[in-house]
Symmetry: C2
Subunit: 476 residues, 2 copies
């Protein structure tokens, strides 16, 4: 886990034109990674010089990173309950809305996030209709905070309010004990996380609140919780990368919980609907994976001299990064557009820029980082060849410090997923973390229109490096 060799050579830049990158790998055999050196842009030279000066603190950084990696790899996240958000998330009260990504106010929010905000306000009864809800939000009648401030995460818009049922994950690692929270995945298409907010959307949320959430919570309590590290390990052997593809983990979750759901259910009719709800949504596990990720990464926050990325998230306007050694500070840059495939009738012209807290999956080494395990996913960004999938994972291996031995990939002969993004490696290589993502329509109320791969903007990491160096007494 030491990275002594990292700063010895000249700065390297990997060719991140993915298609070409993958083609070159394929043509040169799977073990050859093409690395092109390019002179860095003038604006980045100062940051690269600062990076070189960080070499003087290498021992302290390596020690801190080892501790950060130890916390990541010893985490024991267990899905233990479902509860109303307002009951378990301290401070989530009346007229408070949590959202995905770094802090943002109504005036800078993108269309789908505004749509979700309006829907949630109506759902909570703080306004009688969507128009009144928008007026309330625009007039400062509600308060916005990032999910990440409240031990929570949310996919896409990520809007979380007090009466919504949230999945509760407890990190049972010795010395940890932290809990994290995330809404239940609503399904695909026209759902609030993609900005939809009509009666069908709100009725589904009410059913989750009144019927599904309480039953799943009771089943989880009766089962003594569901251990997530082994479940994800199985998912990696079954074609999931746990961000864009959760087919296996969703089915394995249903398998594990079905007997307990049956025991907790009052009647077979309600039970049948709840089983069908899980069975009908192959992304059901995504939100479980996200709250697992939050519970794994929160103990890694605030370690002095630790250069590990503790969180990546986006609100549809800004991309935000947090680094362990720089505490609660956000480093932001304008969010990029995902590259991907669109549902019939939609195109990039309809797409909202990248959005959601779900990049927590990549932060723990899953999603695009584990693409080698999910060749079906690269169908969204290329020819869908297994070699393309491997190329993603190998590239992300360039910016991470470890391989997670608990999460291995059969296609790479059971090598662990690349985990622990090192701020320094991102800055040095110029390789932008890849993030598998859904794509929302840019207008409020429409919903999902595609899926693809987004890139974390380099600007976040360059800014974070300056602050990280300063935290160690090294100024530009």
């Amino acid at each position: 886990m030491s990275s002594n060799s990292l700063l010895g050579g000249a700065p390297r830049v990997v060719n991140i034109g993915l298609r070409g990158f993958a083609d070159e790998i394929a043509s040169q055999g799977a073990d050859v990674v093409q690395v092109d050196w390019r002179p860095p842009a003038p604006a980045r030279r100062a940051v690269l010089e600062l990076l070189a000066r960080l070499g003087a603190r290498e021992a302290a950084i390596a020690r801190a990173n080892d501790e950060g990696l130890r916390r990541m790899q010893s985490a024991n996240p267990v899905l233990v309950d479902v509860q109303p958000a307002g009951k378990v998330i301290a401070g989530l009260g009346e007229r408070v809305l949590l959202h995905a990504g770094p802090p943002i106010g109504w005036e800078r929010m993108c269309g789908p996030m505004r749509g979700a905000v309006a829907g949630a306000i109506v759902f909570e009864g703080w306004a009688s209709d969507l128009a009144a809800a928008e007026r309330l939000a625009a007039s400062g009648g509600v308060t916005f905070h990032p999910n990440h401030y409240f031990d929570a995460v949310g996919p896409m818009t990520g809007i979380t309010t007090r009466s919504m049922p949230v999945l509760v994950v407890e990190n049972r690692a010795p010395g940890a004990g932290n809990r994290a929270y995330c809404m239940i995945n609503e399904g695909l298409g026209k759902v609030m996380r993609f900005g939809a907010n009509d009666e069908e959307v709100l009725a589904r949320l009410a059913w989750l609140r009144d019927v599904f959430g309480p039953l799943l919570g009771a089943a989880l309590r009766a089962a003594g919780g569901l251990e997530l590290v082994p479940l994800v390990a199985r998912g990696l052997a079954m074609g999931d990368e746990m961000h864009q593809r959760n087919v296996a983990c969703s089915a394995l979750t249903l398998r594990a919980m079905a007997p307990h759901l049956a025991q907790a259910a009052g009647d077979t009719e309600t039970l049948s609907k709840c089983l069908a709800f899980i069975a009908g949504n192959e992304q059901f596990f995504l939100n479980i994976g996200m709250v697992m990720g939050k519970s794994i990464m929160d103990p890694v926050r605030g370690l002095e001299a630790c250069s590990l990325v503790a969180a990546m998230c986006r609100n549809g306007t800004d991309f935000g990064v947090r680094v362990s050694g720089t505490g609660d500070a956000w480093f932001t840059a304008p969010v990029e557009m995902p590259q991907g495939l669109y549902f019939p009738g939609y195109s990039e012209a309809d797409a909202n820029p990248d959005m959601g807290d779900s990049a927590i999956m990549e932060t723990i080494g899953l999603g695009a980082f584990a693409m080698a395990s999910a060749p079906a996913v690269v169908g969204f960004v290329g020819a869908g060849r297994a070699s393309d999938a491997v190329a993603f994972t190998r590239a992300m291996g360039q910016i991470t410090l470890a391989r997670n031995p608990r999460w291995t990939m059969p296609a790479l002969d059971f090598q662990g997923v690349p985990a622990g993004i090192d701020l320094r490696r991102v800055v040095e290589s110029g390789i932008q973390p890849a993030i598998n993502t859904g794509i929302a329509h840019r207008r409020a109320g429409v919903g999902q229109v595609g899926a693809g791969v987004a890139r974390a903007p380099l600007g976040c990491f360059d800014a974070a490096l300056v602050a990280f160096a300063r935290s160690l007494g090294i100024e530009t």
Copy 2:
């Protein structure tokens, strides 16, 4: 699908020392298959000369094989019901036992098959205890027939009697409409298919007959059946090869059926037990896959001049092969020992030779033929490298006529599984079909002791080739 080029060159023999084979592939890049030519053993020269003379009938054989492949690849097997075997299998009456493999009598039966026979006789009430059951069987008081004669298959011992509940698969392809039958998978360890027969085993069979079977049957009827070709396609993208590994397909079956099981159940307590039974057995799908395989291959039987292998099976004593063009004849040879891993406390000294109708999975291009999709399985026979898994699939591609476009393997860039074993290619290459299998204890009553890979004996195919040539008027 034509094989005009097949007989043009000198006879080839592929090196089937698997370890070396895989190593060579790995060292030469994934697309290179090592083929060593060796002079055939004297005993095989006559068969190879006969094979060369078959070239005169190439056009007729190619036409027949195309029709056989068309039937395989257009099959539409649907799991439609569960019923008592005696109700749906014509002729399965009092004191009749169906068994795995080619025909065999009590005197030549191996230990575990005798154990299963005795258990089934007690289960049916034809004798009061196991000792009396053995006396009854030894004295000719019961009749034995192969499952394959009754549109049925059974794993390992494969014992099927009238009151056992059987899965019913209907092949809904236009012009087909045939049905096939197989017992419900009992779980792992001490179960009748591995020769166990104590009270626990018989009590489980009674529960399957009285509770689980009727409920699953009702749920399947309510659901309008479960289409199996798309289910298996998904399993291949999720690490299953559907013989030794059925984790994904078992979970997907549970997912598909759970809402219907809930609706069909009278109470949540019974339902919870039934859901837990499926959830607790990752090989639950195996028997569904087998009966699917039988329903796919039965329409391929009896096509004049068709050199496709229609069935491979074993009874623990003999290995049996049927070829389409030679009708109902069996070609048998002594069964070989599987190579594999043993459960703690057991070794090859405890092992029974290869057994079961489950080689129908390889006959349709799954199991060892689809190993590239299930690298986890090669842990049973080697270092468990993904390249080993690919080597199995590529080797089996040498003895098959087609790639099944409906069942593709992500690890091979979505190439179809090698399907349609050509008798001529097996004889010519000397490559023995590989079969993923469980390993039973050689004594009655013990159960499963390991898992590994077995090989179909070449003698079956040499004998079949002589008969096949004769069916086309070509004599030795």
